[in-house]
């Protein structure tokens, strides 16, 4: 935990702190705005600004954590030198962001039945299968969002630990 906090502190105290703040606030705000619409979009069957009407405090909080959390992970990675960046943190973070998009985009839209049709499914197959797939995103929407939050949190931890570990080297060893 101490290493994570140190990694974050180094990000916002180092010579590239201006860029770190810019990424965190700019990208974080943009992503949060996106998720404020996207997370409740399963209520309206697709990405629509009207979805904001169905925003709950829990979803708003999740949107902020996802948006600013991913921006934080990105800022940490960006503040490090190229060799210090954590590829795993980037992958986990992007995975988390995408997982949060799934319920709103795949439940209650025509994407699933359209994909089934593209793969040559017959009408009876489509009518008997669409519900089995699409309902997963409806019924387990909370699980998807929780997994997203976990993914973004993990990406922060990985990025911060990587940043802190690499940064310790000049202090612990003799200066070049």
């Amino acid at each position: 935990m101490g290493q994570v906090l140190r990694g974050i502190a180094l990000t916002y105290a180092g010579p590239r702190r201006g860029r770190a703040y810019g990424i965190t606030l700019g990208l974080g705000t943009a992503l949060t705005a996106f998720y404020l619409v996207m997370l409740p979009s399963s209520r309206v069957g697709g990405f629509s600004l009207l979805a904001v009407h169905y925003l709950t405090p829990e979803l708003a909080l999740a949107a902020a954590v996802l948006g600013y959390g991913f921006a934080l992970a990105l800022a940490i990675n960006a503040s490090a030198l190229a060799t210090q960046r954590s590829r795993a943190a980037g992958l986990v973070g992007v995975g988390g962001l995408l997982a949060a998009v799934l319920p709103g985009s795949l439940c209650c839209t025509s994407i699933i039945p359209s994909l089934l049709a593209v793969f040559g499914a017959s009408v009876p197959t489509i009518l008997g299968t669409t519900g089995k797939i699409a309902s997963v995103f409806a019924l387990y929407e909370g699980v998807f969002i929780a997994a997203s939050l976990a993914g973004v949190a993990l990406s922060i931890v990985l990025a911060a630990r990587s940043r802190a570990a690499h940064c310790l080297l000049p202090h612990e060893g003799s200066p070049p």
Partner: protein, 291 residues
């Protein structure tokens, strides 16, 4: 990197099509007549094509596990009185077997909506497999047709929570109206009363067999001295001109003027028609050629 770019383009395409789907085809086209199905209702009754004939309606197919369908039901509930005031009916049907994953059932939506769900212009039912395949072969789970008073599909859309404006336009503009008629006629629901001595005839475009037998005739028979001596339903001309829906029913009664008045007879028939839980259109009584 190329793979990532391809995925990004695919996602962008889906978003740009507003989720209606780039591959989604409309099961029935605008301009086609809506299928004349008899629908099974949640209350065990049936909704026949005759009940919908001559009325604009929203035919909406939902899956009961679908959150946007529940939201849409809430939106429709908040506007159901508006739709009723414009003569628009709502037929909300659960797709057969919920498209393969049974949900809580449409009863859950009905219950969640509350008292508004019992509005007389709102029908709740379940589609059969055949009806689902005909109305929604692509398996969309929140799809509706706007059907005009002629039974013709005038719009296809989805997600009433998002597209309410289109439904409102349908209700308030000529989209929902039948084609203009050429001659004067009985406005929907009127009863034309014609008295000749001890006979009185009651004519109405709403005197179809069912309502007459179950709602009107029992009330008339309850009046003193009134006997129903004849009923006919014919296509075409009523005592007041052509019938709006092409059908006019005529009841012929005898009565004793010392025991009951023509006005009381007409009022009983009016009360019978207005007791229809699915059709509360006000009934105006028109007296003609009384002697």
């Amino acid at each position: 990197m190329k793979a990532f770019r391809s995925i990004a383009i695919a996602i962008a395409l889906f978003f740009s099509t507003g989720f209606t789907g780039i591959f989604a085809a409309e099961p029935l086209a605008v301009g086609q007549p809506a299928p004349a199905f008899t629908y099974h209702l949640l209350d065990g009754g049936k909704l026949s094509p005759n009940t919908l004939r001559g009325h604009p309606y929203l035919l909406w197919m939902v899956a009961s596990w679908c959150p946007s369908c529940q939201t849409g039901s809430d939106v429709v509930a908040s506007h159901i009185d508006f739709l009723r005031s414009h003569g628009v009916r709502v037929v909300e049907m659960q797709l057969a077997r919920d498209l393969g994953r049974p949900g809580p059932g449409l009863q859950a939506f009905h219950k969640a909506v509350g008292a508004k769900a019992n509005a007389p212009n709102w029908y709740w039912g379940v589609l059969t497999d055949a009806q689902t395949a005909a109305l929604d072969p692509k398996g969309d789970m929140d799809l509706y047709y706007l059907v005009d008073a002629h039974g013709k599909i005038v719009a296809i859309n989805g997600n009433p929570a998002v597209t309410w404006d289109a439904i409102e336009r349908f209700a308030t503009t000529k989209m929902s109206q039948a084609a203009p008629r050429r001659t004067a006629q009985i406005p929907g629901g009127d009863i034309v009363v014609t008295r000749r001595s001890r006979f009185v005839t009651l004519a109405s475009n709403r005197f179809t067999c069912g309502p007459c037998a179950t709602r009107v005739v029992p009330r008339l028979r309850a009046l003193p001295s009134v006997r129903v001596v004849g009923y006919s339903a014919s296509v075409g001309t009523s005592p007041n001109g052509p019938a709006p829906n092409g059908l006019i029913g005529v009841l012929t009664l005898t009565f004793d003027p010392s025991k009951v008045t023509v006005g009381e007879i007409a009022a009983a028939a009016k009360a019978g028609l207005e007791s229809d839980p699915h059709d509360h259109a006000p009934v105006r009584i028109v007296y003609k050629n009384n002697s």
